[in-house]
Amino acid sequence: MFANFLKTASVAALATVASAGASLAVDLEFYFPVAVGGTAADTIEQLTAEYGAANPDVNITAIYAGSYSDAGQKALTAARGGTPPQLSVLLSTQMFTLIDEDVIVPFDAYLTDEEKAEWIGGFYPSFMENSQTGGKTYGIPFQRSTPVLYWNKEAFKAAGLDPEVAPANWDEMVEMGKALTLKDDAGNVTQWGVRIPSAGFPYWLFQGLSTPAGAILASADGNKVNFNDAKVVEALEYLVDLSKTHEIMQPGSIEWGPTPKAFFEGETAMMWTTTGNLTNVRSNAPFDFGVAMLPAKERRGAPTGGGNFYLFKDSTDEQKDAAVDFVQWITAPEQAATWSIATGYIAPRAETWDTDKMKAYTADFPQALVARDQLEFAVAELSTFENGKVTQAFNDALAAAIAGEKTAQDALDEAQAKAERILKPYQ
């Protein structure tokens, strides 16, 4: 009788403890943006589910949040409203803004010294330029990219150019572009030589011109800019001349979204866009295509781009530890390889490229290595305090020059003056 009672009591006690253990599960949610075509959203959800299955004490939800700017707005609005996510994938350039708004914390406090040396130290340095400031690490590279030049091998052959060789410098791009620009009998262009999208956020691909020209647009502290440097003016004049003087590129602002489709349809023989579109182009291009580094001028150069994981301030220590663990898992070689193969984003750790999966993939598809090799020449993406306003002032100047409303020098002088006014309180 008493033994019975004891048995039931102990079973009940065990059950309570077990369920209490389950209710001690940590809840994590993170916002992620998708900025490229293809199956990026599905892959993230798949990876998140995998982590959740392997770690039953963590309830993690991935929430699709639209474009980079949508995700940024969503995360900051949630943070201001008092219900922030615990971590999020946001633009690497938003680091200073997020610090200023006081919504993120550096990863350093949640890592051992060994992890700092090995884990943080294992990321490519050019990705870390937009992820660290003041000696601390605020962002962990996740979906990072650089812009690359895609070229249509069939169109090259048809124009009498060597289909295996892409333009290596600015002059070659103009020459080849002229051979590739085809017109119909009425004089209307049926195929443009090159397409560099400039609508919405022209500054990113423009950095693919200003960096080879030898200019760095902003300081590492985020409070000084260099918009009207002579080399930047030179780069902008080159971009404008592609349409105006050489007539190898469509005039006016060119849309980013339709660019891959224009490439597939043969509207343009070369296009500049993110390596994040690589898998999309591979799946949908009806012809053989090549991928090359951006053409050089004084040097090779390109901006990095894409999103980092940020750790939000308003969460419990347990959540932060769980979040750091998740970020370490998802940037580990196996998962990073899956992600990179599914999208074309560059795996941010050198060791990922040595895994069997990546070796097999790159043996079959060597174009994937170009973006990684370009990292040697890559610089930080334009990022400052009040990033939205400063970048917009720069974008407006670029758009004005592209539209022919102002000369490159005037437009950039104005942008520099505006940016200096905005950044004065931060110096």
Binding site: T77, N188, A199, Q250, S253, E255, E265, D396
Partner: protein, 292 residues
Amino acid sequence: MDTARRQWIYAWLMLSPAMAFLILFTHYPAVQTILNSFYSTPRGRREAVWIGLDNYQTLMLDDVFWKVLANNFWYAVWTIPLSIILSLAMALWVNDKIRGRGFLRMAYFTPTVLPLIAVANIWLFFYTPGFGLIDQIRGLFGLPEQNWMGSPDTALYAMIAVAIWKEAGFFMIFYLAALQTVSPSLKEAADIEGASRWYYFRRVLFPLLMPTTLFVSINAVINSFRLVDHIFVMTEGGPNNASSLLLFYIYEVAFDYWDTAYAATLTVVMIAILILLAIGQFFLFDRKVHYK
């Protein structure tokens, strides 16, 4: 308790739900916005401080603001008369007993029913240079392709076209309803007198439609400030703010730059403009509207 008091209590009770909503969602935010415009923008590490009229000074010196205001002015000048005239013409046409009238009415009303964000994506395809619909048709005539949304000269007009397309169907409904209430004996009398159709329209029909025109024009004015959804999808303010409108600029300043104090200042300006326009419209139309 005497009846008068009780009546007052009933009155307040019946008014309170509507009043609560109005105060919570209209008056309180308006007052809060006006107050916010006199403070600086709070950032995570810094509190908002009183800066008086500094934000308004920045506003005066902001060339993007003046550009945006000019854009909005042209947007209003084009969308308001064109959408009203178009809707009136459509209503007059489908009021007659023509074959396929029902289908035609549905076709005209469809733009109203579809969400603007969705149709903006369709228009994005129309305007795309090269393989967009408009350029394909132009290609048939051998005309060169045009970059409608990428050129500062045409970007705003591309947006105006979408707005007119969206609004006209909605206003047509009101005109159609008003036309149905016009007694047919008026038309018969006009025919007997030998009046031309244009004379009948100008001297009889249009004055009778004045109340509807007043209503429609107020809606059109509000829409010229309110209808900015397609800009988010299509041009994001256009090359160098060529297609940016005031409400879009406010959103950009508030949620892209997170400069909430300046956004509050811009909002105050917009509210002031709308109030002036509303008052002006009522006084202007008051003499011309016949309600009988």
